[in-house]
Point group: D2
Chain length 346, copies 4
């Protein structure tokens, strides 16, 4: 039985991690970290957990946690995990960091986009970018996982095969993404109040969102050259779900079958990536509550562009589910353990 500790267990991603781990047969949670709710029962914060979780919330003590836990999940604001990690900690336990601290290999670039100083640059090199479908073998051996961002997971999986195979002009990539509101976190901000979000859609972080370099880096590794692209997130009045609509010019004409074959060759064996039948657009409702990413594409012969689409649950494959998938790989379990969740509709 894997002993798991969670730092930041009372945010939306942390709570989703609790939901998933409670249904995981080889893991148990030994530490519900939450600075905001110390000494409160966990179920007092989230009443869905009443009679399911009896533990109380605890402070963030990384050293003590390292003694008790086989793996620590950090679902915390930027800069926190990187300030707590140390060789001493990593020698005793594994860390899966759901924040962005170890996702960008170039520390200067991280500091530029995130506007904070990176407190432990020495671990960036070691950290493995935990997009399991792409870095599976490295994940298995890792001590420190940089769990991918929600937008990057959906964007990268949507574009990766065509970038890697050189089918698209990487200078033309535009990603227009839409997210449910749980992605904005559980902080008490006027902008995230029900009446401010409901009956509204808006773009935000235009040409400046922090997930941009993460996407660029990974697609750059795929195609073997630096990538600069446009990424525009939008806030949608719904709880969960991310939809990516990405555009790129084809380097040369391609048929549906050619591109379908490429997607299939990358994802046919992947449990959590579903390439939909021709003509079926991904929709967030079909993946809700599950670890699936649904993908599809459409060629527009009029403009010679391909439109690549992806849908997933931002809290599962975009956060807690992918973290569990990484844990499964790191501990030699079946990759799908605890994640065989049928999407819930409606």
């Amino acid at each position: 039985m894997i002993k798991a500790g969670i730092i930041g267990s009372t945010g939306y991603a942390g709570q989703e991690l609790v939901r998933l781990l409670m249904q995981h047969k080889d893991a148990e949670i030994v530490w519900y970290g939450s600075r905001s709710y110390i000494d409160k029962k966990y179920y007092e914060v989230f009443h869905n957990m009443f009679e399911i979780v009896d533990a109380g919330c605890m402070d963030d003590n990384m050293d003590e946690l390292a003694e008790e836990a086989d793996v620590i999940f950090t679902a915390t604001p930027q800069g926190l995990c990187s300030s707590l990690v140390s060789e001493k900690v990593l020698s005793k336990t594994k860390i899966i960091d759901l924040s962005a601290d170890f996702r960008i290999k170039d520390a200067d670039r991280y500091e530029e986009w995130y506007g904070i100083k990176h407190p432990s640059r020495e671990f960036i090199r070691e950290a493995v970018y935990g997009l399991c479908e792409i870095n599976r073998e490295d994940v298995k051996k890792a001590r420190l996982i940089a769990n991918p961002g929600c937008y990057p997971t959906c964007s990268i999986l949507s574009i990766y095969p065509l970038a890697k195979e050189g089918l698209i002009d990487m200078n033309t990539v535009i990603i227009d993404a839409k997210s449910g509101t749980s992605g904005a976190g559980r902080g008490a901000k006027v902008n995230n109040l029900y009446c401010e979000v409901n009956e509204n859609i808006k773009a935000y972080g235009v040409a400046s969102h922090r997930h941009t370099p993460e996407i660029e880096d990974q697609l750059g590794y795929a195609c073997g050259q630096p990538v600069v692209l446009n990424f525009t997130p939008h806030l949608v009045p719904m709880n969960r779900g991310i939809l990516v609509t990405a555009y790129a010019s084809l380097n040369e004409e391609a048929t549906y079958e050619q591109i379908k074959n490429i997607y299939d060759s990358y994802y046919k064996e992947e449990t959590f990536v579903r390439v939909l039948p021709q003509g079926v657009c991904p929709e967030t409702r079909w993946v809700e509550g599950s670890n699936y990413v649904d993908l599809n594409f459409k060629i527009d012969p009029r403009t010679n562009r391909v439109i690549m689409m992806g849908a997933m649950d931002n809290l599962v494959k975009g956060a807690a589910g992918q973290a569990v998938q990484n844990m499964n790989l790191m501990f030699g379990l079946d990759e799908t353990e605890g994640l065989n969740l049928v999407p819930m509709f409606p």
Copy 2:
């Protein structure tokens, strides 16, 4: 492995049943009945099931189904199950009927409230009202289950202990209920369009809703005398969830502890009924996707009334989950098999 057939598998309750049975380790679905989608793949109707269910939809052939299935779930409009049931069918298989056909013991009363003729009155007596927490022993031995309605499940469980113990004046019972829109079904009706339901709340079926006699009957059995009450359902702009707010006068003064003890004595051993801590009102978000019913109450000394509240997921405990719970009991399985679902939030 229990072989299950579903008639009406492409309504919301039918689809939820598929979701639950796909995650049930002792059951498999052998028949996806759907008159509307014959010969379509099931996943073409519900893309959440892509790469999960490969079967196609089939016509409703009760006789053939009786040969193949150990249990048949009917998630169909009123009058259909009762027109298909027969001794021949029941001699070969069990039936769990999610419609109202066998819920009312008095056939005349059924016909009056439902406005249709009952085509198989001879089976009404045999049918067991499948509210497991109340009729568990009878359910275990049943061939034919009348799976309770969504509103009645939540209403009855909220009021039952105080009715049974004689604490409340049954002539004063008023049930004000609120339901998400999946309860209205998947029929293409203008009234259920997004723009008609969103940003709106309304009462409907005032003093005439068909779930009224079902609730009255069961509470009548509890208190040992006929019950006449007011039941008012409301349509809420959300997908899932039922909330019941019920009012009754106390027969004599009672303390919080007295009433809490009564609820606990009925439900402490019940996995799926959670009596919340004092002061915590049930909310539908805390039970979404799960088989739980959350209950609580408040005494108002100013009016000498008790306000009884219940929340549950109308598609799970109010339909498909309760049906699986009944199946588990009928086949001697652990009652919670396939139903250990942590509520999903947000």
Copy 3:
């Protein structure tokens, strides 16, 4: 041209007041009070007002405001208006208070339910409860208006005729009310975040909500005796709208026509109260953005109860619209000036 000042112009009710007054031909706003946003342009807080309102937000200076404004609207937390009012102020200007400070005639009762000391008891007697349909003549002569609460407006108008005419047993009145989330205000609270409210319904303030004594007082005046009742509010995932479902036992049998005649005799001449045709339940969507209250009722002969229903927009007739209606009366204008708004659907 009436010069209007608003204290608390950046809450939801305050902003709605701005919307209404901008479309009022005989009023202009001279003061946008907002402690939280001093020196910000008003449109920076609410971008709907861009190129419509150019003024900046100002501090709450009641004395200065009294010099400049013919009427002051206070859309502020409990206790603020009552701490600012004075004979000096009232000698120069009129006040329409959207808070609860002057709604309860018995100051002890106010202090008990609101848990704060009333700082200016001497003005309670003078204040007129501004439910125009009931207190029209007093409103016309008032200097200080206690603008009714949202729940009370809808509850009282729904029940008033039958209470006043003695048709119902006032000891049996139960009000089950449902409100959109704008009623919870614009404060940054976790409980009001999109993901906490969406896909959820809950009761709150059960048997303890502060609008209870306000409703009891007014219905008490109607029937000439003290009234004690149950009032249970619920939070609904929508922006605007209040629905009231109220229950009471009939003192003796009554026909539809009898009760319809009573409602008509009270409201036929009222522009903003619409008694719907038989069988049509009030729905919040049909009044959104307007000053209407839609009413109807249903007699249940089985229980001898009458179910009284009302729907209105909590921010218009439940707050800002009623405040403008009061202003119109106080200044001798046509009562409907600026309020002839066709409800917006969908």
Copy 4:
């Protein structure tokens, strides 16, 4: 007083037209056309109109209507208006067609994208594309107006200034649009049910949506050459609102001020187009219920692209409001008459 007839008054756009015309001081509705609800009172279809509209719904009799009405609005499916128009009709009255029948000047292109035969090609040339901000003078003289589509209105106004001024490479234009569900109409379709739309976002009509040629044509006129672009609409779980996020490469580097000046030079005098302050993204909530289009842009120096954004209410500026604006121009009224509506929030 202008006498207006509406064919198709019981769709969402038709009903919005009724709302706007009821508040227009120089127009009155003389004909509520609705094939589906003949002989029903209009308020029985839309109860918001109770005690506001007393008329009944009537059949679509274009000849009779031409005698009675000064202007006929057709809010009907494709092909209907073009099958009813005739010289005889146009000699007696004006027509404002909210459908697409006369928007595309090339009839073959219309037939190709719409898949139906155009029944009255002879009137296409005469019809004026009623985007008032661009074709104002032609609108004033027109007998037949092709009222622009919702997506095209928002897309064209967002891109037009930069296309006309030659600042952007028209071969790189990508429009990613998002719409509320009222744009999908009031037909009873499963896909538009509450539970299918809520908690979901999806693209549809990818690389094939019928509004594509309309946008291409108008931008082609602006830049003086044929334009081929990508347009991808998405369905958002909200009632009203369209958001356009458009991307294009700059022909050469440009500063914020340069582009701001261009937008201002086109729109500063326009009442209904608001170019927002720097850094403020358009949001649909800020225009709801009004005729405004809110615009802004962001230059991304990293990719040398400009992101152009627009938000409007699809039922007002995208349909009924623009139709009234056209009517005002055609009849020599103040262009803003009946349209001075402050956006309603929340």
